[in-house]
């Protein structure tokens, strides 16, 4: 408040500048820090635990039992056809992950929840999804995985442990950065 009249020296200006710049820098740093965290993230207690096993009736017939996938890296994706826009955004990414890694020991599993059969099949057909996809009719799988909303995606390593959980749409880049070390890690090790 004390704006002294007719100050000749430029020192107050310099100090004001330094103080202003320092304050601004601190604030910006705090904000940048803030951007690196997700206040809405719900930490899953399942991280590091064995992934719950399940048997999934598939849309194109047959069933998938997860014990058969032991030794492979598994991406378990919970989705629904009414989940707009997130499930629509991530579907092509999941398909690309499947195409890219299926021969290197990775399986993508789609688990459709709270949906209508016709709409779910339509969704799969229009995106041309080829990875195993089935319905969690009783909702027991999503309860075992503590699914809170759709989409949610769990990453399971070769030993069957959950290593990562994503809430919201995943992208190919997000998954690749986690998948590569998992595939590399166990390449030499015994499953």
């Amino acid at each position: 408040m004390a704006v002294a009249p007719n100050m000749r020296s430029s020192w107050p200006r310099v100090w004001a500048g330094i103080a202003g710049a320092a304050g601004a820098a601190v604030l910006l740093l705090v904000l940048v820090f803030g951007l690196h965290r997700d206040p809405g993230a719900i930490p899953s207690p399942l991280i590091g635990r064995q992934a719950p096993e399940f048997v999934l009736p598939l849309f194109d017939g047959g069933t998938l039992a997860t014990p058969a996938l032991r030794g492979r890296v598994v991406v378990v994706n919970f989705w629904a056809s009414w989940c707009v826009p997130a499930c629509y955004e991530e579907a092509p990414h999941l398909q690309r992950i499947w195409d890219r890694y299926r021969d290197r020991g990775l399986t993508v599993v789609g688990v459709n929840i709270q949906d209508q059969d016709r709409l779910a099949r339509d969704f799969i057909a229009r995106f041309g999804l080829t990875f195993p996809n089935g319905v969690d009719r009783l909702g027991t799988i999503s309860i075992d995985y503590g699914v809170y909303g759709v989409p949610e995606t769990f990453l399971v390593d070769r030993k069957g442990r959950i290593v990562h959980k994503y809430a919201g749409a995943v992208t190919e880049e997000m998954l690749v950065s986690e998948i590569e070390p998992l595939l590399a890690d166990a390449d030499g090790a015994s499953p």
């Binding site: 007719n6 200006r13 500048g17 803030g34 809405g40 056809s81 707009v84 826009p85 809430a167 919201g168």
Partner: protein, 658 residues
Amino acid sequence: MMAMLGFLSLMLAVGCAAGGLVTLLAGHRLRHDPARAAWGRAAAAGLFAGVTLAVVMMEAALIGFDFSIRYVAANVNRATPLLFRVAGLWGALEGSILLWAWILAALTLLVAVKYRGRHPDLIPSVLTVLFGIALFFVGVMVGPANPFARLPVVPPDGRGLNPLLQNHLLMAIHPPLLYVGYVGLSIPYAFAMGTLLSGQHRDEWMTLTRRWTLVAWTSLTAGLLLGARWSYDVLGWGGYWAWDPVENAAFMPWLVATAFIHSSMVQERRRLLRIWNVSLVILAFLLTIFGTFLTRSGILASVHSFTQSLIGPVFVAFLGLVMVASLLALLARLPQIRDEGWLDSPLSREAMMLLNNVVLLTMAFTIFVGTIFPLIVEAATGAKVTVGPPFFNRLFVPLGIVLLMVMGLGTALRWGRSGAEEMRKLGWLIGITLLTVTALGFAGIRGAGLVALGAVCFVTVAQVGEYVRGALARRAATSESFPVALRSLFALNRQRYYGYLTHLGLAIVITGIVGSQSGRIEVQRQLLVGQAMQVGGYTLRLDGLVALPGADKLVVAAPVAVFSGNSTALAGSPGSPGALDILRPSENFYRQARTPVPTPAVRSTWRQDLYVVLMAFDPAAQSAVLRAVVTPLVSWIWVGGTIMVIAGVLAGWPSHPT
């Protein structure tokens, strides 16, 4: 098609903003260059045309259910009513940036046209700043927040607007008003920065921006008021303000803008506080950007479908850029805009306005610290903490009381140096206030509430006193009757007398806040149909459960008969005579939401509100859980706030030559 056209119009807008910026920057040294000024106007027109076209495309897509556009699919479904399809424009991030850019483009064009040929050494610099801001917002939309981004496969239906937004009509007008206020503050900022850039002026921008600032302030006030009302009507907890980061983000610029409106009068009148005013305007503008960042980046509050968008970092970068540029410009011109004198006397109106500025800024700083404190703590220690209402309430009660005292003093004292007459006025004021406080004390009011009401009385009497004195003086001079004289005061000096009206409105709002904070009675009970419960002088009887299927939702309402007094003799059929009112609290089931959204029912009188929420119901057992809240004086907040907004509109209304 629409997505393509919309995106192309945004590209056009980017081109115009960049073109305008470059042309004016290049022409900065060539003053009084009509050709460049014309290019600047053309660029402003192009910017407005481009963003307008994009808005039209987006609205067409929203109204026409074009689910190939991600934004439309995320915010509209086939059951969304037309009004909320239109309002979908400001329902989420990308659309609200589009709205922001649209308002800014309109204001830029308005400045370019309104000051055509006038102030040729100032307006180009002002437009330069506005183009710079506009370039950021339209640039964000062709980059990380593209409202016209498409989905790889068109979904058969969209998700729909957040039901909390779709559940109230106010959502259709509250955000645009708030945005006009936010964006409107970029005009005084652009004039202040233009003044610094041009290096030739010191005081002209005060007069030029007075009305712009007033319009922005009034819109912000209306936006905050409607936001509080929405919160009261929709959220179902019987409160109107929760110190939520989103609310704080809008309240901070309002406080700083309020401070600026007062201190700008000191500069207009006394040629003082120049550096202070420029700093305030910079601060207000920074706070609008910061507020948008807070509410739109997901940094503090997040929904489940959190996406890793680039919008946060981009906003931080822009915030940093504005800070650095403003600080440099201010420091560079500091010697030119330094004041030559200082206050003549601490007992003057300008001294009180300065004091009011200090209090308002302290309030803004308090909110700022409270809002980002959790982030600071987490950055420093990793611990997660929250700052809740007790922190803000504890600081705002004393600050608010000081602010009211200063308001009263500032109204009673005169410009320059107060004399014996003002001291007599003050004596009267203090006398009346003390009498009122004593009376209120005998009426059983105690503690902080009593002090606050005393301060409210002080302010009110000071404003009323000015009206009476002014009208009496006018009557003596013109022999008009007292009511006519009172009316002509408003015509003679709108700023001053509507300003007093704003103060009165605030006094009413604060009375409402004090009342509603002091005595809240809350009861929650499970009732069978036909059973009754008592709450604060009312008896409520559950009369049934009614399901009403609507186009976009299923509504389950519980008619509740309200009787006065704690009467237990309520035997009789539903709708029995003697009921004061039938309230219909309801729960709304939207298909886009898993949990129902309640709509409380309110019986509002000038003394108190009865607020009833349907918490849960069981159709098989014919029972419902009702929460009833009785809160004193809530309606005073809406009345006082409306008076503030009306006074703001009238004070800024273009005056007719008489």
